[in-house]
Symmetry: C2
Subunit: 327 residues, 2 copies
């Protein structure tokens, strides 16, 4: 738990977003916005799904990762980049580094699923294993950075990363007119912070809602309390949303978000399955949280034009969450 409210890092500006977008355009997709008449009828709202599951590495996180990697000087880049993550940021940073042709090291717990390790290696990353504890991770990571001089790209609490993620809603505003609100999942707050940065500059009338698993509702509790509350080890199927807010993302969340809604595990899985069934796209559980809170709170969204960020599509196709009940 922390009550710090002032970020120690530089807060990115919208100029950083413009620079980021020009910088990363060759390496990312302008992802499509899909709609579903069925889901519109079901919610009474007009929903516009920004499909970052169809992004490179199937995650919006390539935006921030590419901005960090391609913003390095040649001298810095030579030393490579490093991070600790077993999720989409690890994949995305590996993709970005691969595009620039520089080394990338990911510190990952020994216990991380082999599929995640294989995916990082598939994108050209190197893995250094640590014990599955915060202390081991920090010690091993410090050693990696000390040895290599690699640039640390944090998964979300980094102005370069937030400026990169902000390009997603910049695209969305060019694709859909007259939105009333945007709903995005919240974990560490990188996507929401980027959304706040863009919308507060270009379209301050559009409301910003965050969606969080009830099982990992530290952001919702932080939002109510007025200071960052960090849970130790929340357990949710939406595995991209377990991490806590940090000072930079808290700045954006506390200043620009209208509300944070939560959804249960069952609601998240149902929204995920419904999306696969009706929209014919593969989204990961974290992506489904935004739709889940809209289905749960129809009165908040009814009659409005809502942008929804589908954040990623990396799932284990052999272990789909709705299959658990059958086995």
């Amino acid at each position: 738990m922390s009550s710090s409210t002032k970020p120690t890092m530089r807060i990115p500006s919208y100029d950083d977003v413009l620079i980021a977008h020009e910088r990363i355009k060759p390496y990312i997709h302008e992802t499509p916005v899909l709609t579903s008449r069925f889901l519109n009828d079901l919610t009474g709202a007009e929903l516009f799904f920004k499909c970052e599951n169809l992004q490179k590495a199937a995650a919006f996180k390539v935006r921030g990762a590419c901005n960090a990697v391609f913003g390095l000087s040649d001298k810095e880049a030579k030393l490579g980049v490093a991070t600790h993550s077993s999720g989409n940021h690890a994949l995305s940073l590996s993709y970005a580094a691969g595009q620039r042709g520089i080394p990338v090291t990911v510190v990952m717990p020994k216990t991380a699923p082999q599929a995640k390790k294989d995916a990082v290696i598939g994108y050209g990353g190197s893995i250094v294993e640590c014990e599955p504890s915060t202390s081991s991770r920090e010690a091993v990571f410090a050693e990696v950075v000390a040895k290599s001089g690699a640039d640390f790209v944090h998964p979300y609490n980094d102005p370069r990363v937030i400026a990169g993620q902000a390009t997603c809603s910049k695209e969305l505003l060019g694709q859909v007119e007259n939105l009333d609100a945007v709903v995005a999942p919240i974990g560490g707050g990188g996507m929401i912070s980027g959304t706040c940065l863009t919308l507060s500059t270009l379209a301050p009338n559009i409301k910003i809602y965050a969606a969080e698993p009830l099982n990992a509702d530290d952001a919702a509790r932080s939002f109510k309390a007025g200071y960052i509350i960090a849970d130790d080890a929340p357990n949710t199927v939406a595995d991209g949303l377990k991490v806590p807010l940090k000072d930079l993302t808290w700045h954006f969340v506390s200043n620009f978000v209208s509300d944070i809604f939560t959804a249960t595990e069952a609601e998240i899985v149902a929204a995920m399955k419904l999306t696969w069934l009706r929209m014919k796209i593969v989204i990961e559980p974290s992506s489904a949280v935004a739709l889940a809170v809209i289905l749960k709170n129809p009165d908040v969204f009814k009659g409005q034009r809502i942008g929804i960020i589908f954040t990623g599509g990396n799932v284990d196709l052999d272990k789909l969450p709705w299959m658990n009940k059958l086995n």
Copy 2:
């Protein structure tokens, strides 16, 4: 088995395709063309996936169904439409009739999965059940048509349906330049016939390949034999491709298709899973057959620009074919 080669029905012309496209545009999506760098690297070809899984009702078959339904005079339309199908044509015709606000009756075996029946009803169709035999189906269907005067819209052997399906490759040609070949799955041959109709008119240099399950390879055997061979009850995971060619589709297949390749059940399921994994879209097994034959015959396609028709995305998410091995 039949050796008839001359169709008894009118062969649709490309003018019919132009009329069809104007007629159905308000009721269908111009579906996106997606690409995958991973699959390009894997095959050594440049692949352009025309995503009819993202079409209304998640099937290209709404094109032909809408063309038939909206081509009826008001007097004809009042009597409704009817078909026998337990697959995507049933859904698509129900969708089309719903859009025009006319009755639609689908004759379906008692034994068809409840999910299929529910889907037809969800789109506003009425179901009349028959015994799971050809004789019962034909008798029940004749009775339905006699009673209602409904217009019979055959799933594929109908010039209106073929002209509608032909709008798919018409769109594709506008979306991708300089294609060397188009690969589409073949069952009854409706999609392939439409593809032949468009390409033979607009771009006769583009080769047309059909892809078929080895377990239901009646079209491949027909192609070699030079006359229609119809299997009785082939069994394949690609359940949209079990039906035989008929006179009208045979006309197009025998005149314009360069070759027909087959894939095993395992190859089809692997291509399906690979598509979900790398492209993050939901395709049904029938859709995957085209990619399966490209993966199987790299030398035929290497270095070329290939259009692939992903024909549909209707799957039972609780019974995915790669799950069978685990249970």
